[in-house]
Structures are given as C-alpha cells and as structure tokens.
C-alpha cells in the first residue's frame, strides 16, 4: 500500500499521548457497572451533564477543532463525532439520549500538558450520524478490559441502544499511576 493510503487508514494517529487509565477512572467505570445498566446514579454522566460548556471562553486552553479527528480529546475515540452531528464535544445532538455508561481515555491537552480523563459518552436513539467518522485507539485495550475499549456500543442504560455519535467530556485530571 502507498503511504498516502496508509495515512488515510490511520487518520489522526500523529501524536503520542499519555494513555494510562487512572485508578480514579477505573473506579468510576466500576461504580457505574456495579450500579447496573438502569440505575446509574453517579459517575461519568452526572459530571458530564453538570459541566457547563465554556470552551468559547477558554479556547486557548482547550485548543483545536472539535469537528476534527485530530482534536486532543479524541485520542481514544471510535465513532462519529457529535460535534459534526448537531451536538458538541460534550453534549449530545437533539433527539438523542446520552449513555450514562462509558469508556474512558486519558488524553494530554497540548496547551497545559496535563493528562485529562475523557469520558466518551455515546449518544443514542437515532440511527448512525454518519458524519466525521473518527478512530483513534491510544490506550485502547482488548474487550476483556471494557472501560478501556472503544469497540463496544456504549448505548447501555439508555432507552434505545441505537448508536448515533460519541461525545468526549472532560471528567477530571488523570492521577498518575
């Protein structure tokens, strides 16, 4: 294959980012799992929902284009970017429901050098968005470690398991292992 073909396949795999899933994020996922698929009281979703989207005011500290697969928060995403589907980097498009159970990436913000725990919440209930397909797998591990795997349909605990797109919300700064 030509290198350009390879480039096309590899899409945004240009940066080598921190990837260790923190103990905190593992526990967050475990907590969600223990709580079950329906009654999920806490963890990634409530943080994502509570977070006020303030990117516009802090764009220098959160650099990049959230409609581009190269954007730093997408280091372990696999799916359609909600920013291209009527939502944003941390919100689901209208008509969909955000999954309360997620997989986790640890991505480094090039602006401040910090490793952030990113919750990749799937948005569910409308058929495939089909826009801005993005596949990056830094820190992705086999399905035997679910919280670190981006191949699952994470539309779990939602009214419908139909997958639409994936958001990428900051849920904290990673604690180094």
């Amino acid at each position: 294959m030509t290198m350009s073909g390879l480039d096309k396949l590899t899409e945004g795999f240009s940066r080598h980012l921190a990837r260790t899933t923190s103990r905190r994020s593992s526990l967050a996922w475990l907590g969600a799992a223990l709580a079950g698929a329906v009654a999920v009281p806490a963890l990634p979703v409530s943080r994502a929902a509570a977070a006020e989207p303030k990117r516009a005011a802090r764009v220098a500290e959160d650099p990049g284009d959230p409609t581009s697969c190269d954007y730093w928060r997408y280091c372990a995403i696999d799916g359609f970017l909600c920013s291209c589907c009527g939502g944003s980097v941390s919100t689901c498009p209208p008509g969909t429901e955000m999954s309360p159970i997620t997989w986790i990436g640890t991505c480094t913000n090039p602006s401040d050098g910090r490793a952030y725990v990113i919750s990749y919440n799937d948005c569910c209930g409308t058929s495939s968005c089909g826009q801005c397909s993005c596949h990056r797998s830094e820190g992705d591990r086999p399905q035997v470690r679910p919280q670190s795997n981006n191949d699952y349909n994470w539309c779990l605990g939602t009214e419908s398991s139909i997958y639409h797109c994936s958001a990428a919300a900051i849920i904290g700064v990673a604690i180094e292992p």
């Binding site: 795999f13 035997v144 398991s161």
Partner: protein, 386 residues
C-alpha cells in the same frame, strides 16, 4: 429543421428494421429468484458488513472471490451490531441481532435468526431474553458454536458479562452463565468454551447436557493486558487457536480438551527494516491461517501505542512448525482484515474497513484482482465459505 426531422426518423426506423430481421427476445419466467449452492465453493467467503452509515441495517454478504465481474452472490440481514456465524455442517448462516419495533425505538427484542445457505431465507428464530446481547464492532468471539454445532453460545454485556447457551435444533434457550470479568467465547472440547479474563487469566468451562456449568478451570497469567495484549480473534489451525499480540508475539492454545492448554511456543512474527518506529500487527482481523497450517499476519510499518487497529500494508507468512517467516506479501491497497480461501491454491483476501477488497495469490503474493467496494460498505470479519 427538416434535416433534424429526417435524422430522427432514421434513428427511430433503424431498430424496427433490425427487429423484423431476427427473432424477438424470449419471454422470461417471473417471478424468479436465484438459489445458491447449499455448500459454498472454496473460492467463496462470507463478509460481515458492519454498515456504519446505518449500523441498524448491517449485513452478512456471501461473495465469490474468483468472480471478478460479479463477486456479490447474496446477503442476509445482520442488524444492529449483529454477530454472525457460518456453519457449513448445518448449511446455515446464523445471525444474533437486536430489533426495535419503531426501527430506533420501542421494546427491544434480541434474537438469533437461522438462515438457509441455499435460499438465504430464514428458517427459524430463537428469541434471546433480557435485551442483553453484547453489541460491538464485529468480533467472532461473541457468537460461537459448540456441542457438534448443535448449540450456540452468545456473549452478553450490560455491562454485566454472561453467556447465553442456546439449543439450535430445539430452537430454545437452555441457560445463562454468569461470567464476570471475562469476555469472548472460544469453543473448547466437545461441549464447552474458554474466555479471557481481566486479571490476565483464561477460564475454561465445560457444560452438562442442560447447558449448565459442569466444571470450570482457571489458567493464570496467560496475558499481560497492559504490555502485551492479544488481538482477540485467533486463527485456527485444527483445534489450536493462534493469537498474535500487539507487539507481534504468537501465542497458541490447544482447545481440543476440556481445559485450554497454553502451548510452549516462543514465536514472533519477527522484525524488519523500514519501520517508523517499528513494524507491528495492525487491523481488525489481523491473523489468518491456510489449510496447510501457515499463519498470515497483517503488519503496519508505523507501529506504536494506539496503532493496533490502523490496518496494514503487508502480510507476513509464518510457518508455526519451524518458526520461520516464509514470505512478506505487499498489499497494494492495504487491509484491516484478512482471510485465506480453502481453494487448492489458496488466495489471500485482503479487505479494508472502508470497503475495498483485494484478492492475491497467497503463494506468490501477486494481486489477482481488486474487487473494489462492490461486496460490502464496511467489511469487518471474513470467513472462508468452505
């Protein structure tokens, strides 16, 4: 204007003259539907199409890799992150799917549909209770056969993990086995399976005649998930499952007995010049075998953390008996999934997740033909047709 009228008259009259000079085309019997051979020829493969543009409308495609002009022979439905299975002995294709009555909304139904290989029509259905079937990008290990192909095993994920045991002949669910912390199904022994677990171990489970757990055994320390994780879909050589790790080590498990037996092989795909930073396996279905027991591994020269699903530009051929690397095959268009046909002279089928499928001579590595994207939108898992 007159000139134009004359030209038009000539154009219209020419076909009429031709028709009067020969017999009309015969009438054709309709309705008419094609039937396939119940046992597929060795050049045929089955291609699971995730169909990402509309995942709820996925497909399983039957294709003839030797037919350059019309490779697509038929398809069955494989809806909503379906798992699919092909059983030559049953002459059936099986799909485990999820449905909603209002397409995207309503009460969820999970079911196995049994499709006839010749007619591609459904001949049976088994409802899977609980709405818990695991949905993910296609993996062979989510839906497998055991008990001489009479039973199917379905992986569940809610995210609580379990396995549903199904009697295909009786068209009923037999049991559900809790399997916390473990994932994927590798048929083991006469009636049982093994799975990998999150602590790096493997578990082997035998089933009684009711589908309940008869015995289980844990094999510790078979995988370093952080540093040397295994791609989850193995290549089978007989009853031995060959896995390759993200860094190119080869691991073998004998699944012929009741308990999976890790084989003492110290093999790797080897190294090569030209990697930046290094050659590593990469893609979706990255390891395949041929009928002679050779292994084929899809390799990427830009191997690094996170590159393991990027697809590869070469296939490295390894003889696991000698440990020798026999050849390196260059793929003109790259691939994310590979499989070998079971023809006397096997062909290497190289599919890219964005559609194109190439057919190469596995011995010479030469391109036989490119089938383009005429088989599937998003080929994920490839299965030999015989």
């Amino acid at each position: 204007m007159r000139l134009a009228t004359t030209a038009l008259a000539l154009m219209l009259s020419a076909p009429c003259a031709a028709q009067t000079a020969s017999q009309p085309l015969p009438e054709e019997a309709i309705p008419s539907v094609v039937t396939l051979p119940a046992s597929y020829p060795p050049s045929w493969i089955l291609v699971h199409d995730l169909h990402t543009a509309s995942i709820l409308d996925g497909r399983m495609v039957i294709a003839d890799t030797a037919d350059k002009s019309r490779p697509l022979k038929g398809m069955v439905r494989a809806a909503q992150f379906a798992s699919s299975l092909y059983s030559p002995s049953r002459r059936e294709i099986l799909t485990a799917e999820t449905f909603y009555p209002r397409l995207t909304r309503g009460e969820r139904t999970d079911a196995i549909t049994i499709w006839d290989t010749a007619t591609l029509r459904p001949k049976g259905e088994i409802i899977l209770p609980g709405g818990k079937r695991q949905q993910s990008v296609t993996y062979s290990g989510l839906f497998q056969l055991t008990n001489s192909d009479r039973w199917a095993l379905v992986a569940n994920f809610t995210p609580t993990q379990s396995i549903t045991v199904v009697d295909l002949d009786a068209r009923k669910v037999l049991n559900e086995i809790d399997l916390p912390g473990c994932s994927h199904i590798y048929p083991t022994g006469e009636r049982g399976f093994s799975s990998f677990c999150a602590d790096g171990s493997m578990i082997s489970i035998t089933l009684d005649d009711k589908g309940a757990v008869a015995s289980s055994k844990t094999i510790e320390g078979v995988q370093d998930i952080d540093k040397q994780p295994m791609f989850q879909m193995p290549a089978m050589i007989g009853k031995t499952a060959w896995f390759v790790t993200y860094h190119g080590q080869l691991k073998a498990f004998d699944l012929s007995g009741q308990v999976a037996k890790p084989l003492d092989v110290n093999l790797s795909v080897g190294a090569a010049e030209g990697g930046a930073p290094e050659w590593r396996p990469a893609g979706w279905q990255v390891i395949a075998s041929d009928a002679k027991g050779r292994l084929y591994v899809l390799m990427n020269p830009a191997g690094k953390e996170g590159s393991h699903k990027d697809g590869g530009s070469e296939v490295w051929v390894i003889d696991p008996a000698s440990g020798e690397r026999l050849s390196r095959i260059s793929l003109p268009n790259g691939a994310t999934s590979i499989v070998l046909t079971r023809e006397p002279t096997p062909h290497l089928v190289a599919a890219r997740m964005d559609g194109p499928i190439d057919v190469l001579d596995a011995a010479t590595g030469k391109l036989v033909h490119s089938l383009g994207s005429r088989i599937a939108s998003n080929p994920t898992v490839l299965t030999p047709g015989s």
